[in-house]
Symmetry: C2
Subunit: 98 residues, 2 copies
Amino acid sequence: MLARDGEHAVGDLVRSLRIPQPSVSKHLGVLRRVRVVSVSHRGQRRLYRLNAQELKPVHDWIKTFERFWSHHLSRIKAAAEYKAREREQQHHQPEQEN
Amino acid sequence: MLARDGEHAVGDLVRSLRIPQPSVSKHLGVLRRVRVVSVSHRGQRRLYRLNAQELKPVHDWIKTFERFWSHHLSRIKAAAEYKAREREQQHHQPEQEN
DNA sequence: TTGATATATTCCCATATGGGAATATTATAG
DNA sequence: CTATAATATTCCCATATGGGAATATATCAA
């Protein structure tokens, strides 16, 4: 449950997400504590906005795997490794095993 | 708790992360169910590897906020908006209020 | 087989979050 | 001050995950 961009009043989120108001407020409460969203008051409205900076670390980390899906060659290589490993295994298939 | 790259035996993770083996196995169990990691057997070892593809969606989403931290001008603008909003508010400061 | 390794699973307990319903808060309109 | 709109918080209940300890599995070595 996230405010994509700009500021959003709780009510707007409630309507667009079709989730009960208390739930939305609770979600926002959590995100607020973790500093992923920020609030500003405007009349009796609370305007929430995403705190992009907080997401940067995640972005930086996940970014280190970009090569896995962005480069064609990488994908081919990955697929090859994948199959190679697949073969080495003695035909299991519980959760997934691949 | 994640295998950064290549394949990692549970034991290696246990040692490098300094987390009890049962915990590591449990973590991996969860990640396995969500398909974020994959396993392959090699002798009595279980080799885990990150399933990068599963992270792509997250990457794609979070990427839409890249502008917030990558462009100088964007940062300045963001800071300005930030302060602007700050002023409009009537001096609260519970959780954070900004 | 038997013992040792490498992992996984289970048990119990604690905490975080989600849902629904009810209630409290805050701010605006009159 | 009072009613109402906009949000937040609390209660109760359910489930997911984390920690520690104990135990079960699987695989290898002899």
